[in-house]
Subunit: 331 residues, 2 copies
């Protein structure tokens, strides 16, 4: 007897990727129901060789019985419909930022803190794309050396802003006069240090997500995170430049050994033969890639590294599907 | 009576930009002589409406009398020819990295340390592009608050690798099969955390330049710099994400006021109306642009900011021409 899974926001970039990954990872889905707004309801999708008609999202359908509901339709939809689905006894894995910082909602990177899922039913939050890949790489090092400061600068792909952003970059590359509507400025041949809205403290909401989601997932409010999140003209794959300060002095060879053993991490770190991850080389895979691991020149307790992952996969859809796998493994 | 200026490496991307800027800034040039290797000698260039024939670079011509010789032909050429020119009594402004860290050679960002030029004759080094713009923005803050740590991640344009790199990115944008020869990996729709060669400590030479040139220019070896330098698919303009720790607690309003007064700096920092610098908006100007100035959320003595400048102009040619201006102003 397979699972009944509902997909809210099935026609978006992440929704489609979720369907792809449910199939790839051979999740035993018996029934897949896809939901979307009026605009997309009625569209046909294919899943495991069968045609699926996108249903209209309503409060009523959220009260049906699902093993899991995957939400990827923005914060407003999650705010309204996820509690209805959860109140009806369903488990919701929500990809929006709506519930991430709510106290009793688990925020989960399965390799790192799936223990919080034990015995849980209700809304589970999928972290921000930039946070997930950083946490996958840092959690094992935090455990060993005790992280106390993270300074991160990101190099984020346009696919993180959805399908229209991919079209905007493609359009601008072909035509210098192509307008910008998704981004506040032209993104082709440019970089924009502005992702999500600005808070009055001068940080963007994207940057603040990296601060507070990291503290929540690692269950340690003493970790001081400073983030600068930047959009660059790359289609798929987020990269991160990390400077890390630890309580204990890290050793580069030991760090590599720890990361080589870590679940979901691939160490690509032989710079003498140009081996370090780039988004173009690692896109369309589910792992988090780490390279350029090096000690700071002055602070013996500090390290730098470079972390890359596919933002639609590990940064969104794969992580959500892995949450289902983790829940299933606990039954 | 105007100046006699020699330009070594006149046909390269920076050499051509130097000619452009000598004209723009109305440097009183009486005679401009252009030098290049066998490959480019004989080419015709135009300067102030007159045709100039590129001469072959030889040891003999370097012994002629010049008011200034601008070198931009790579480290090997500077290593061989700059000492000959200097021994003959000429002032050399060298854009290569060859002499930057040599003890008695001044390394100059005119807004910051032109005092070291007083009474000097011989080789003067022009700093690395990424270092120059960072120093322009940070020197006034160092003076006020005492910098003790800089963590910098760069977003560097391909023009920093010369004309062939611009052609490589253009070619790859038009044709997915266009090869990479300048860069170790494809740069279109990618980012590459690898600029210049790797040192055995895991940092690249470009990153180490940012460390040691900063200490030399600011005359303070206690400043701890950690750099990650990254090439992105942008044609003109380098951007930098900076995390800064000071001895004294900085105040954001005061920082803005200091930078608004600083020579060569333009503050673009009203994020609520999408005002922050990007390379596409600021390219082809001579200033250094600073935005996204904000206090760290945890460390009261730390600030973040975003700095952008045109790498061929302020990062290379403009700075070199400003060194001539500073020397002339001292006579």
């Amino acid at each position: 007897m397979g699972l009944t899974i509902g997909l809210v926001g099935a026609t978006g970039a992440v929704g489609r990727k979720m369907m792809e990954i449910l199939q790839e990872r051979k999740i035993p889905v018996d029934t897949l129901r896809a939901f979307a707004s009026q605009r997309s309801a009625g569209e046909k999708l294919e899943f495991n060789g069968k045609e699926i008609t996108v249903e209209l999202l309503t409060e009523e359908v959220m009260k049906d019985t699902f093993d899991y509901l995957l939400f990827s339709a923005g914060g407003g939809v999650s705010e309204k419909y996820a509690p209805i689905a959860a109140a009806a006894g369903n488990i919701v894995v929500d990809n929006s930022s709506q519930w991430r910082m709510t106290e009793d909602i688990p925020l989960v990177v399965p390799e790192v803190n799936s223990h919080v899922l034990k015995g849980y039913r209700g809304i589970i939050a999928n972290p921000n794309c930039s946070t997930i890949q950083m946490i996958v790489a840092l959690a094992p090092l935090h455990k060993k050396y005790g992280l106390n400061r993270i300074v991160v600068s990101t190099y984020q792909a346009v696919s993180g802003s959805g399908h229209e952003a991919i079209m905007e970059l493609e359009g601008q590359i072909k035509d210098a006069a192509h307008p910008h509507t998704v981004y506040p400025k032209r993104i082709a041949a440019n970089c924009i240090p502005h992702i999500d809205v600005f808070n009055e403290n001068g940080f963007t909401k994207e940057e603040l997500k990296m601060v507070y989601e990291t503290q929540k997932i690692l269950e340690d409010d003493s970790i001081q995170v400073n983030a600068t999140t930047v959009r660059i003209p790359v289609f798929y794959g987020h990269s991160e430049s990390l400077y890390l300060e630890f309580d204990q002095e890290p050793n580069v060879q030991e760090v590599k050994a720890i990361l080589e053993e870590a679940e979901g991490v691939i160490v690509m770190d032989n710079p003498e033969v140009n081996e370090y991850p780039t988004p173009l080389e690692t896109a369309n895979t589910d792992d988090t890639y780490v390279g350029r691991i090096r000690k700071d020149l002055f602070n013996t307790k500090a390290l730098s590294m470079w972390v890359v992952a596919d933002n639609l996969r590990k940064g969104a859809a794969t992580n959500a599907v892995q949450i289902i796998e983790a829940m299933e493994a606990m039954i």
